[in-house]
């Protein structure tokens, strides 16, 4: 053991990385504004292009919302890792004497915070644009819980794959190509659970999808913990 020099505790390193991302974003607002504008545009485009009647709106709400979150999330994940790569900051992080999975968790926490912030703003806008009975259920604890679980799964996989994609010269294209096939179970489970809540179906129907989301979240967080070191190494 090397006891002669101080070393950062694991959680101190996780929090330091998350704090750094949030503080930098608070100043620049580059990432959040891009995600937010993109998300609102997607919702507007869906609204104008689909010209839905009331019943159709009830049915598409979950799909439109999760499509919006997924696209906006990709933008945020790409930008979050590009900032590290462009100025060589990723090397600066990797030079720190901490378990490299702490860097992953720090980045994942900040990415999750950005995604949740966008969702918090998008949901009221959606409910105004797509007024229907079901949109009133967008703000129930059950729906918000599913949104949180889906976002955790999305960010857990997305942060790992963004770390891989950022090493490639075609990173902007690479991330969606890598991410969307892997994220299908999260999107399907999130959409189905959200739809069941919005349509006030039995709780047992919701829970089947929620359980899938929880399992997926746990598996991918554990996988990222194990492989992040190899993903970022040259």
């Amino acid at each position: 053991m090397d006891n002669k020099r101080p070393s950062s505790s694991y959680f101190q390193a996780v929090l330091a990385v998350a704090w750094k991302d949030l503080a930098a974003e608070l100043r620049s607002r580059e990432l959040l504004s891009a995600m937010l504008v993109f998300a609102l545009l997607v919702i507007l485009i869906f609204n104008f292009s689909l010209e839905l009647d009331k019943e159709a709106r009830e049915n598409v709400t979950a799909g439109v919302l999760w499509t919006t979150f997924a696209f906006a999330g990709t933008l945020g994940l790409n930008r979050s890792m590009a900032v590290e790569k462009d100025r060589g900051c990723l090397d600066g992080l990797l030079l720190a004497p901490v378990d490299r999975s702490a860097i992953y968790f720090g980045k994942a926490i900040s990415n999750l915070a950005f995604m949740l912030l966008v969702e918090i703003i998008v949901l009221p806008v959606y409910s105004i644009l797509y007024t229907s009975v079901s949109t009133m259920r967008l703000f129930t604890p059950a729906f918000l819980g599913v949104t949180l679980l889906g976002s955790i799964g999305y960010v857990a996989v997305g942060t790992l794959l963004a770390s891989m994609a950022v090493q490639s010269r075609t990173r902007d294209v690479m991330l969606p190509i890598l991410l969307f096939p892997v994220i299908v179970p999260v999107l399907v489970a999130s959409v189905q659970a959200s739809r069941a809540i919005l349509q006030a179906l039995e709780m047992s129907e919701v829970m089947a999808w929620v359980n899938l989301l929880i399992v997926y979240d746990v598996i991918f967080i554990a996988l990222a913990f194990m492989v992040f070191d190899y993903v970022v190494e040259e």
Binding site: P6, S7, R87, L93, E234
Partner: protein, 234 residues
């Protein structure tokens, strides 16, 4: 302090380092010189734990790589031609972030000392993106010495600096070396290397083709020695 034996590094089918033997005594300042593509940056990335050796033995500060990478990182400061700093954080916030990643105690006092050393106390609350290239490089050195490393690696630190900034960097480098740290610096600037280093190693075609101490150089010019070493390596 640094021992490298028969180091080989391959990227796919391409061999960059072809059996490098290299050793540096504590307190020595070694300038690693060589043409573009000789493998200098790859070599420093291996010493700095950012890349794994394909074959061979590497020991830094008594710790083997890649097995004891975290222990090596605790004793290592790295400055490259990229600042490895966050533009949307202030100088002080950057140092605080990296200090937390290294788990430093009495961090506020240490940040004061480092900012004083690199002459940026007056700009401590300014965003790094508003700094000139020279100021960013001085802060990068501050970041690298923050945890008081025994070994410092400089990869082309003068790239992109104007005359004034280069002279300021000279002073900071002299101060770093005067504190008894072991320094390895790659550079294309032979005049600067001759002025600062105590030993000169030539890396050519993936091997150390020649090595001479300042005393061994005598009245000869480093440029002549360098040209001769490259000619012998052809």
């Amino acid at each position: 302090m640094i021992e490298v034996r028969k180091l080989i590094k391959r990227f796919g089918l391409k061999t960059i380092l072809r059996g490098v033997d290299f050793s540096v005594a504590p307190g020595e300042f070694v300038a690693l010189l060589g043409p573009n593509g000789a493998g200098k940056t790859t070599f420093l990335r291996i010493l700095s734990t950012l890349s794994r050796p394909s074959l061979g033995a590497v020991t830094v500060a008594g710790f083997r790589l890649p097995q004891d990478a975290a222990a090596v990182r605790r004793r290592l400061g790295v400055v490259s031609h990229m600042p490895l700093l966050y533009g949307d954080l202030t100088a002080e916030e950057n140092l605080r972030f990296f200090g937390r990643m290294y788990g430093l105690e009495m961090l506020a006092a240490r940040i004061d000392d480092v900012l004083e050393m690199v002459g940026l106390t007056a700009r401590r609350r300014d965003l790094v993106r508003t700094f000139s290239r020279g100021m960013q490089q001085r802060l990068a050195i501050g970041r690298a010495v923050l945890h008081n490393p025994d070994v410092m690696l400089f990869d082309e630190p003068y790239t992109g600096l104007d005359q004034d900034a280069s002279e300021m960097l000279d002073d900071v480098l002299r101060e770093v070396a005067a504190k008894g740290r072991t320094v390895v610096m790659t550079s294309h600037d032979l005049a600067r290397a001759e002025e600062l280093a105590t030993r000169f190693d030539i890396l050519s075609r993936g091997v150390i083709s020649a090595s001479v101490s300042r005393a061994g150089l005598g009245a000869n010019n480093l440029l002549d020695f360098y040209k001769q070493a490259l000619a012998n390596g052809q």
